[in-house]
Amino acid sequence: MLEIKNLHASIDEKEILKGLNLSVKAGEVHAIMGPNGAGKSTLAAVVSGKEDYEVTEGSIELEGEDIGELGADERAHKGVFLSFQYPVEIPGVSVTNFMKTAINETRKARGLEDMPARDMLKKIKEKSELLEIDSKFLSRSLNEGFSGGEKKRNEIFQMAMLEPKVAILDETDSGLDIDALRIVANGVNKLKSNDNAVIVITHYQRLLEYIVPDYVHVLHDGKIVKSGTKELALELEEKGYDWIKAEL
């Protein structure tokens, strides 16, 4: 589903990703772990199309199509979703209307008519219940004054609404208490299917107890240096990252 080959990316002429390879198939959950500064968030930003980064080498393919030159909006239309580590506050735009705009713009790009208002409301209701989101919350300005947990739940709510093919969850567990973590993870698990894939970027093993990965990768200095199964995450939790650095 998602094939990343020899990806090199830099910002302000500083190279962050230095030949990264990752192959994610439909139905899989991949975890990407690694120390601070390894390039985890850069990977998320580059795959989702942030223009501040320059891809100098390599390719990103979604279902066999090179998406490396597409804008972030076009990638979203093709099914890429990024759950932000720090969701942006947008005063003056309500969650509901933001979602309506996002869905209808995506439909427009796919050559579809606007979603009928009744279907939209039904979908919003269904997906907000999945994330245990109160209906009052949906009329508030997007992310403005939301707690850390509310912001992350709202991110996964958006994922549920947009039904992406590949969802990248960037540090979705940070700032969450255990209840919020359970709700978020439960939401992600319910959205998982044989037709989509999830990439979980995290520092800690904690989230992976709830969203169980098929593969765990260690990112270090812009490259994936070790891959394994979920047991690798436990080992990392126990021993830290130094032993991997020592192996290199």
């Binding site: 972030a72 947008i90 735009v93 209307n97 996002a102 209808n104 300005s141």
Partner: protein, 437 residues
Amino acid sequence: MELKEKLVSSFLAFESTVDVKNPLHDIRTKAIKDFEAFGFPTKKVEAWKYTSLNSVLKNDFALFPKSEVAIEYKDVKKYFIHDLDTYKIVFIDGVYSSHLSSTTHDKFDVCLMSSALTQNRFKAVIDVYFNKIAKQDGLVALNTAYSKEGAYVYLPKNTAGDKPIEIVHFSTGSEDAMLLQPRNLIVVEDNSEVTVIERHQSLSENKTFTNSVTEIYAGRNAHVDYYKIQNDTNSASLIDNTFTDQYDHSVASVHTFAFGGEITRNNLNFTQKGQGIDSILNGVTILEGKTHVDHNTLVEHTEPNCESHQDYKGIFDEKSTGVFNGKIVVDQIAQKTNAFQSNNNVLLSDKATVNSKPQLEIFADDVKCSHGCTIGQLDESALFYLKTRGIPEKEGKALLMYAFANNVLDSVKIPQLKTRINALIAEKLGVSIGFDL
């Protein structure tokens, strides 16, 4: 001949069109002398530092339209809030159009200034209010000297206007360049309320220069909402001089939506002459090209326990320029005044300019006054966030701009008007998303 000389020398010709024996005419003859003394403002005057009228004044304006042009309603329907039942006072090249208008003398008066100034039954109101609220400077004096036509609205005590009033000025381009000087008087006596929507619209690319004066009286407990839609062509310039006197516990609001026109200057004055008054001045400015808008506000707090709220948002693209010059005066006696002012601007281009100048003159010691002004750019991280959700760049920018102005738009009380303004904004931003935030 310079425009000023032309205006002074044409006054004789103008006099032949009005009743010079009416005692009111003394006001005009004094005003033309004042205009001769004051002239047009120049950039040397502090309040006009950022707005030059030179490019406008060099035109050879016709002062009196030579021919009457008829307009069909269907051709100008879009300039009205046509899905709303309103009274209408419509002018074509400064001349009243009875077939586009819808007036009343039933429980209150919505009619022509030319009637009010000449007919006996309006004399009592005219004597008390006409030219008593406006502060005199060159432009106001010029308008007063030529005052003859405009909108006259009078609500006696304890009267609520049953529907909004639209005042619409069309210019047809029947002259190469036309000077229009509408004079409006809105008198809302104690416990009465009214809503007015005003628009100036040029229907050609010929030059139009409008020097408008509006006097508003809001009596005790009166409520006045005034909306100005300034979305004219790039060949039309407007100087809007609006003066509001408010008495105890009245609420008056003026919303100014400045979306176009070559040069637009809003001189907006509020004088609070009682207690418990609220004055609301809101504006949204969205400009591109080489257009220029100058909001020059003055709120005078002359009695205790009053409030004023100013909120102006500006979005400037290409080479457009904006000015906000907001002055708040709190007299020594005006204790417990709450006066707030905010002016936020977004520049979308390196060549756009904003000059924002708050002025607070506070002589009382127990007041709450605040002002804040910001000039910034659209938040790139917010734009990226929107794009990752499938919202394209243009729509994303539009959404952010709309959100930026949303609290002002939200304060528009007439849903049909709000819808119309939202549509104007969407049209300006070149997007088709429905902004129902």
